[in-house]
């Protein structure tokens, strides 16, 4: 090849490569943008990995609010044991030098697959030890424990200790495996709606208000007439038309938002809906990293993917909808589990409402907010670490020891809780033993003090301190 052609080839290749990389920088999100991914993204973020600016600044730095924008509210709700403010206390400056808890990325790094753990984040193994080295002296029971063993199931958690704090452990000491009452609280959404809309009357097929061409499918109208929507006076146009009253055939999650705002917000924070929150196309099972059934790869995950438009059968959404796509050991083992048996009995009307255990009972638990009881629609919210499930799900039916033991048994989780746990988590026993020992010492102190006071008053002297 002549020098001239070599120069032309070089120029074309350089211009081409520059254009390709340049476009990949500005044309987000696209497959081209993936060129700049520095490493595999964690299983909690890969769905939105091509929306670089969700987490990064224009200069490829990490945004100040990259983590808290999505996780801040939950951390607050979880009573984060180590909030940023704990490290902005100047009196803790010496600890901040060891572990800078003011920033999430001190512990958690993204795009480092070689350091990412099963929970989907990177975490230094010795993070507790940096500030709590003295624990062995204060708690003799902790002496000799490995420096990286604090955050094992049932003991401690850096952020969320709602089911692990000492008083809670002691209060639930000695509980039976099965509590006397085994039932989840009743949802309050329908009652709230009735209270806020006293004028709303149940609707019948004859009262539907869809335009003629849309109402041709009588089956759809019949399905709607049987739903809670029709019972609550929610007609076709309530979902199928926007502010301008123009009809549209396929309402998206924003149509649901009008009445189910919290649920939509939660849904768009979980892995099913997080792409929608950043303006991407809906998640599909084809994009999942978990095993999914064949033939569902292109289903789009919106509200109606689980709630089945026009049926809106919450019983279907709570278990069958999940099984339609998910194809892992835990899901496949569900039908043969005692939980599923209870669920079938409830759905068949043979058992009281709230006594069955569907996928949603644990993964989309009914949560309280004052008098309200709502279904948490971020199904990833209590997944990791799995002790988060104790207060939101297990404790509706099971004692704390049984719950912690079960959640700590990875094989039992895989088999979908088909029997008793094989191990025993010591944290409740340890907390109880410690509290009992302190109570004994307290009694001893009181007795000594009383004896001193008695001796002082008998000798005529003033009672001392």
């Amino acid at each position: 090849m002549s020098a001239k052609w070599q120069w032309i080839l070089w120029t074309v290749m350089t211009v081409g490569l520059t254009a390709y990389l340049g476009i990949s920088l500005i044309a987000q999100p696209s497959r081209v943008a993936g060129t700049f991914l520095p490493g595999e993204t964690t299983h909690g973020h890969y769905q939105i990995e091509l929306q670089c600016n969700e987490c990064h600044t224009a200069g490829a730095g990490v945004r100040q609010d990259a983590c808290t924008r999505c996780h801040g509210k939950d951390l607050k709700r979880d009573n984060d044991t180590h909030p940023r403010s704990k490290f902005t206390d100047p009196g803790k400056a010496h600890l901040v030098k060891r572990l800078d808890g003011r920033s999430c990325i001190s512990c958690h790094r993204e795009h480092v697959p070689e350091r990412t753990l099963a929970m989907g984040l990177s975490l230094p193994g010795d993070y507790c030890w940096h500030c709590h080295q003295e624990v062995g002296e204060e708690r003799p029971s902790h002496k000799g424990m490995a420096y990286d063993s604090c955050a094992t199931a049932g003991c401690h958690n850096y952020h969320d200790n709602r089911a692990l704090f000492e008083g809670f452990l002691v209060k639930h000491y000695g509980e039976p495996e099965m509590l006397d009452e085994q039932r989840v609280p009743e949802r309050t959404l329908a009652a709230e709606w009735k209270e806020e809309n006293p004028e709303a009357k149940p609707l019948t097929v004859a009262e539907q208000d869809a335009p003629a061409e849309a109402a041709e499918d009588a089956e759809l109208i019949r399905q709607w007439a049987e739903t809670a929507h029709a019972a609550a006076g929610v007609n076709c146009t309530a979902c199928h038309s926007g502010d301008d009253a123009a009809w549209f055939d396929k309402p998206d999650h924003n149509a649901c938002r009008g009445c189910h705002g919290d649920q939509v917000d939660q849904f768009t924070k979980g892995r099913h809906g997080m792409r929608l929150a950043v303006g991407l196309s809906p998640m599909t099972p084809g994009q999942a990293r978990l095993p999914m059934h064949a033939g569902v790869a292109h289903r789009e995950l919106s509200c109606v993917a689980c709630h089945d438009s026009h049926r809106f059968d919450t019983a279907y959404a709570a278990a069958d909808a999940c099984k339609k796509c998910h194809n892992d050991d835990h899901t496949r083992a569900y039908d043969a589990s005692p939980h599923a048996e209870l669920w079938r009995a409830e759905v068949a009307g043979d058992a009281a409402p709230g006594t069955g255990v569907s996928c949603a009972t644990c993964h989309m638990p009914r949560e309280r907010d004052g008098d309200r009881v709502f279904v948490q629609h971020n199904q990833n919210n209590n997944l990791r670490p799995n002790e988060k499930m104790v207060t939101s799900a297990c404790s509706s039916c099971h004692g704390l020891q049984f719950s912690l033991d079960s959640l700590a048994d990875a094989d039992l989780v895989r088999r979908n809780f088909d029997g008793p746990p094989s191990g025993h988590v010591d944290s409740i026993d340890m907390a109880k033993a410690w509290v009992d020992e302190r109570a004994r010492l307290r009694e001893e102190r009181k007795k000594k003090q009383q004896a001193r006071q008695t001796a002082a008053s008998e000798s005529g002297a003033k009672p001392g301190a």
Partner: protein, 206 residues
């Protein structure tokens, strides 16, 4: 209103950046007309103490006297409907720490504060260096006096620190500490007006 005074104070501090500080029990001087770090610390400390007194006396004690279902508890935030008892409220000392957290985490507050003790029930609230031990001992040994010093924060910036004695003013304070399950065997027995710890006010100098 309170916040705007604080911010005004901080701005004044920034203007008086050349403030000269003295050690133990001394006072700081600055550009005439500007609020010195020392004076600023005194002011915000007065507000903190007033707020806590109001909370302890007119909220906590009053609720107790009325036999209200809600009661102060160290684990007030952890106890919920789900975990067993939602009727808990923060102890006065916790209310104080919560305020400190909000201020310390607020980039606009311009100063920070906290509670320290030679005898903390939570070891995380121990003094962190020799100077702080010296300050806390000074307060315990010299009733009625404060202690001022200079330190550096986590990022290496210079700060003026003033320690104020935190006394056993309400019976609930010393009763709870004296009988607490986390107290060690060598823990002192507190009585009314004893110095139980210190309020530390940190004012940036850089």
């Amino acid at each position: 209103m309170k916040r705007s005074i604080l911010i005004a104070g901080c701005l004044a501090l920034a203007a008086g950046g050349g403030a000269m500080l003295t050690g133990c029990g001394g006072s700081a001087s600055a550009t005439p007309g500007a609020i010195t770090p020392d004076k600023f610390a005194d002011g915000v400390h007065a507000v903190m103490m007033a707020d806590r007194t109001v909370y302890a006396k007119h909220v906590v004690t009053r609720l107790k006297a009325q036999g209200a279902q809600v009661k102060p508890d160290e684990y007030w935030e952890e106890w919920t409907e789900d975990s067993g008892d939602p009727h808990m409220m923060p102890l006065p000392a916790q209310m104080f720490r919560m305020g400190a957290s909000l201020v310390n985490d607020n980039p606009d507050s311009g100063f920070q504060y906290g509670l320290k003790s030679l005898w903390p029930l939570n070891p995380q609230h121990k003094p962190t260096d020799e100077e702080e031990v010296k300050a806390l001992k000074y307060l315990a040994d010299n009733p009625g006096e404060n202690y001022s010093t200079e330190s550096v924060d986590a990022d290496g910036n210079k700060v003026f620190v003033k320690y104020y004695p935190d006394r056993a003013v309400a019976k609930a304070c010393w009763e709870c500490h004296n009988d607490h399950e986390r107290r060690g065997e060598d823990y002192p027995t507190f009585e009314k007006d004893d110095v139980m710890g210190a309020v530390a006010v940190y004012v940036p100098l850089d």
